[in-house]
C-alpha cells in the first residue's frame, strides 16, 4: 500500500513480538457494535498518472490569474511572487516540521518567525507582532476580543468601510461573550468622523477602521485614533502590510492594535486560503496578545538562540483562561512573507506601492472616462477603487470574462445598496495593455 512502509512479513514479525494474533486483536477496545462492517464508500485508489490527469482537468475549469488579467481584490490580491519563495518553503526541513516545541531542533523555524515578527512590526509601525493568526478576518476578531479583555467594555464602533466578510467573522467571534458591533456610516467613501464621534462612548472597547478601507479609500486613521482615545477606547486598524512600504503605517497614526491580511506578501491566492493573519500591538499590551511569540535568549553556553516565549498566555498552558484558543497558525505563510520582504526589501516594497497606485489611478481615469461609468467615491484611494456602472455589474463581469479579464468584484452581495458598484483592484502586475483592453471591453459592455 502506498505510503505504508512495513512489508507483510514485517507486520507478522511485529504482531508476533506484541503477542497479538492480528491487528484485530489490537482493536479489541473498539466494540463490535462500533465497527464499520463494510468498506468506506469512496472512489477506488488512483494511480499517480491518472490522478494527475483528473486534477489537471478540474484545475483547467478555473479562470486562473495566469490566463486572465486579474482585477479582483476585496481581500485577496494578485501581487507578484518572486521565484525563490516556492523553492525555499518547499525545503522539507521547513515544510515538514511542526510547532517548535523542541527549540534546539527548531532554530530554523524560530529564527524565521523572529525575523517575520520584526518585519511586521516595522511595516505596521508597531512595537511587537506575533507569529501569525489564520487570516486577516480572524486576526481582526482576535484584535477586537483583545480590546474587550483590556478595557472590560462590551461595545465596538465598527466603520462601514471595513470588509463586510470581516464583519461576519468578527460577529461570529463576538457571539459567545455577547459583544456588540455598532456600525458607523461612511461619508464619501470614508468613515463619517462626526458619526464616529457620536458612536464612541465610555462603553466602547474598540474603534475599528480599515486602511485603505474595503472600497480602497484612505481613512483618516489619526482622527479615528483621537476619537477612540478621548473615550478610553483602543483603535484597531486593519491594514494590508504589502501597502505599508509606501503608506504611512498605522502605528505612526495612533493605532493600538494593527491586524491585516498579509496574503499580498508572497502568499498565493489559492482560492482564498491559506492566508496570513498579521497581528501587531503596542509593547505594553503584549501579555494580552493571542497566538505564539518567539523571543531571543541564550543557550547554556551563552550563545544566541530563539524560543517560543510568554507561553502562559496560550491554550496548552492556560486552557480556558488563555487569551485565545489558537494553536496551529500559519507559520509557512509567515515564512513566505518573510522571504518576500527580504527580497523586496526597503526599496522594493515602496516600488510595489508606487507602481500599484500609479496603475490604479491610470485605470480609474480610463474606466471612469467610459460613458455612463463613474467613480463611486471622491475620496483619495490607493490601489483599489469602486466604479458605478450603468449596467448590472454581474453582467459586465460576465461579458469581460470573454476577453479574459476578471473585471472586479460586484458589491451587491456585500451590501444591497451597492447594486451598481464594481470594486476594481490594480496591483503592480497589471500592465497598461491590460488596462487599455479592459477600458475598451468595458465601453463595449455598457454601450
Amino acid at each position: 500500500m502506498r505510503y505504508i512502509s512495513n512489508t507483510s512479513a514485517q507486520q507478522k514479525e511485529m504482531l508476533a513480538r506484541i503477542g497479538a494474533a492480528s491487528v484485530e486483536t489490537l482493536l479489541a477496545n473498539v466494540p463490535a457494535k462500533a465497527r464499520l462492517s463494510r468498506p468506506l464508500a469512496l472512489p477506488a485508489a488512483m494511480a499517480e498518472g491518472d490522478l494527475v490527469r483528473h486534477l489537471r482537468r478540474m484545475a483547467a475549469k478555473n479562470a486562473s490569474a495566469d490566463d486572465f488579467a486579474c482585477f479582483l481584490g476585496a481581500g485577496s490580491y494578485d501581487h507578484g511572487i518572486p521565484s525563490p519563495i516556492n523553492h525555499l518553503i518547499s525545503r522539507g526541513e521547513f515544510f515538514t516540521a511542526y510547532t517548535p516545541y523542541q527549540p534546539e531542533a527548531s532554530q530554523g523555524t524560530l529564527r524565521t518567525i523572529f525575523e517575520y515578527q520584526t518585519m511586521m512590526a516595522e511595516l505596521t509601525g508597531m512595537d511587537v507582532a506575533n507569529a501569525s493568526i489564520y487570516d486577516g478576518a480572524s486576526s481582526l476578531a482576535e484584535g477586537v476580543l483583545m480590546a474587550h479583555a483590556i478595557t472590560g467594555r462590551a461595545e465596538t464602533a465598527w466603520s462601514r468601510g471595513v470588509n463586510s466578510l470581516y464583519q461576519q467573522v468578527v460577529e461570529t467571534y463576538c457571539e459567545g461573550p455577547d459583544f456588540r458591533l455598532k456600525a458607523v456610516r461612511l461619508g464619501d467613501g470614508v468613515t463619517d468622523l462626526d458619526a464616529l464621534r457620536k458612536a464612541v462612548t465610555e462603553r466602547t472597547a474598540a474603534v475599528v477602521v480599515q486602511y485603505p478601507n474595503f472600497f480602497g479609500c484612505l481613512e483618516d486613521v489619526r482622527a479615528a485614533a483621537e476619537i477612540a482615545h478621548a473615550k478610553g477606547a483602543l483603535l484597531v486598524v486593519a491594514a494590508d502590510p504589502v501597502n505599508l512600504g509606501f503608506l504611512t503605517p498605522p502605528g505612526a497614526l495612533g493605532a493600538d492594535i494593527v491586524v491585516g491580511e498579509g496574503q499580498g506578501l508572497g502568499v498565493p491566492m489559492s482560492f482564498g486560503g491559506p492566508n496570513l493573519g498579521v497581528f501587531a500591538a503596542r509593547a505594553d499590551l503584549v501579555r494580552r496578545m493571542p497566538g505564539r511569540l518567539v523571543g531571543a535568549t541564550v543557550d547554556k553556553d551563552g550563545k544566541r538562540g530563539f524560543v517560543l516565549t510568554l507561553q502562559t498566555r496560550e491554550q496548552h498552558i492556560r486552557r480556558e483562561k488563555a487569551t485565545s484558543n489558537i494553536c496551529t497558525n500559519v507559520a509557512l505563510c509567515a515564512l513566505m512573507a518573510t522571504i518576500y520582504v527580504s527580497i523586496l526589501g526597503k526599496a522594493g516594497l515602496r516600488k510595489v506601492g508606487e507602481l500599484a497606485t500609479a496603475k490604479a489611478h491610470y485605470a480609474a481615469e480610463r474606466f471612469a472616462a467610459v460613458p455612463g461609468v463613474s467613480l463611486r467615491f471622491n475620496a483619495p484611494f490607493f490601489k483599489e477603487f469602486a466604479l458605478t456602472l450603468p449596467k448590472a455589474p454581474d453582467r459586465v463581469v460576465k461579458r469581460l470574462l470573454k476577453d479574459r479579464i476578471l473585471a472586479g468584484v460586484p458589491l451587491k452581495t456585500f451590501d444591497r445598496a451597492e447594486k451598481s458598484t464594481l470594486l476594481v483592484a490594480v496591483t503592480e502586475r497589471r500592465t497598461k495593455d491590460e488596462i487599455d483592453a479592459y477600458a475598451a471591453a468595458l465601453a463595449a459592455a455598457v454601450a
Binding site: 464499520l36 490569474a65 511542526y98 509606501f246 491559506p274 526597503k346
Partner: protein, 490 residues
Amino acid sequence: MEARAPYDRLIFELSSPGRFAYSLPALDVPSADPATLVPAQFVRSTPPELPEVSEVDVIRHYSRLSLMNYGVDTHFYPLGSCTMKYNPKINEDMARLPGFLRLHPHTPAASSQGALQLMWELARDLAEISGMDQVSLQPAAGAQGEFAGVLMIRAYHLSRGERRHKVLIPDSAHGTNPATTALAGYQVVQLKSDEAGEVDLADLERHLDEDVATFMITQPNTLGLFESKIHQITEMCHAKGVQVYMDGANFNAILGITRPGDLGFDVCHFNLHKTFTTPHGGGGPGAGPVGIKAHLAPFLPTPVVVEDEEGQFALDWNRPQSVGKLQAFWGNFGMLVRAYTYIRTMGPDGLRSVSENAVLNANYILKRLEGDYDRATAGPCMHECVVSARRQKKLGVSATDIAKRLLDLGFYAPTTYFPLIVDEALMIEPTETESKETLDQFCDAMIQIAREAETDPRRIHEAPVTTPVRRLDQTLAARQPMLKWTSPAR
C-alpha cells in the same frame, strides 16, 4: 543537520544599503509622481527598517536556517497527537496547479467550477469517512473547527429555546477544548478519567444535566485509548439533550474501522494536517473541517458549497440560521487540494490500512519500551502510546531530559508532559508511514537512554550537544522579552 552549525545570522544582519533582489515591472502608464497621487499625509515619510540583500543572500540564508530544523523529511518525528506522517510530494504538485494556486476567491462561480467541485467532493468524502451528514471545510485549523462545532451546538440549543451554560471536558483533553469552550461563552467543567484512562461514567452521570450544552471527547483519547463505552456515553448525553462533540485529532486511528457518526457523535472535526497528510509547515497552515449530523445543518458556517440539479456548483449564502463565518473566504483551499489528492491516492482500502498500520506501529513501540518505561495504561493502545518517565525521574532524569537526549540520537522528541494526568508523560505517535527499522532504531535509542539514566545521567543532562544551540534559557526569554531584532545603529 549540521553539527553545532556555526551559522548565526539574521537576515537583517546581512543587509547592505543599496543591495537588492527584486525584479519589478517598469512603470508603463503615463503618471504623475506616485507620491503626489495620494495626499502627502498618507505617504510614508521614513522607510521601514527592512533588509537590503541579494537573491543569493536570501537563498543561502534560508537554506542554512532550514538546516537547523528537524522535519519529517529528515527525521523520525514521533510527536504524539500531531500525526507527523510523511507528506506526499504529489499533493504539493497538485496544490500548485495554476488553476488552483492562482485562483482568486472572488472568481465568478461559473469560472471556478473545478475548485468548487473539489470542495464539494472532499466534503462528501469526509462525511462518508466520519459517518456525519454534512461537512464544512471552512475552519482554518482544528481549534477553529472546534469553535465552529461548539457554536453550532449553541445555536441548536438556542433554536429550541434552551440557554445552556456548561461544557463537560475530560481532564485528559487538549488545551484547545477548554479554550474554545470559553471563547464560545461557556463555563468549562472538567471530568475525571477512570483508572483505565477512559471517561469515568459515574463522574459523567454526576455532572450531566439540562444546563450542559455539550460533552467534548477525544476519540481515541489522548492516552491512545479507544473510549470503549462510547455508546453508553452518547446515550447518557442524549437523554439529557446534551450534544456530543468528538475532537478528531486522533482520527488516524480509526479510518475505515469505526465512524464517529455511527458512535452517536453529533459533531466532529478533522485535522487535515494530521490524518490527511497536509504539511505542518513549522506550525501551520492546517485545515479543520467540521462534520455534523443533519439536525445541526441549518447552523453550518456560510457559505456552503452546493450542487444544483444541472450539476453546477455554487456557494450558498442564503442560510439565515448560520453561525456565520470563521475566516474571510471559503477555507484553506490549498490544504483541501492536498487532502483530496491523498484520499484519492489511498482509496477506501488504503485508508483502512493506514489506521491498521498506525495502530500496529504504536503497539510495537509500546511492547518494546514497556520493560524500561512505565506504561500509562494497560492493554493495547490505538495509534499512539503514552509512557511515563517516573522511573527515570527517581534517578534525576526527567521527560524533558529524555527528549533532549533523543535529539542527539537523531530523533525528534515525543510530546512531553501531556496528557496532564500522566506524570513525566512521553506521548509517542509513530504513524503508519514509518518502517519497523525506524521504530527499532527509535526504541533502541529510548532503551539506551533508560540505561544511561542508571549509569551516566550526566550525559543526558548535558544533552543536546549536537544541535545548533544547546538548552535555552526560557526564563530569560520570558522575563526580558526580546521579540524583534533591533538595529545596533538605532
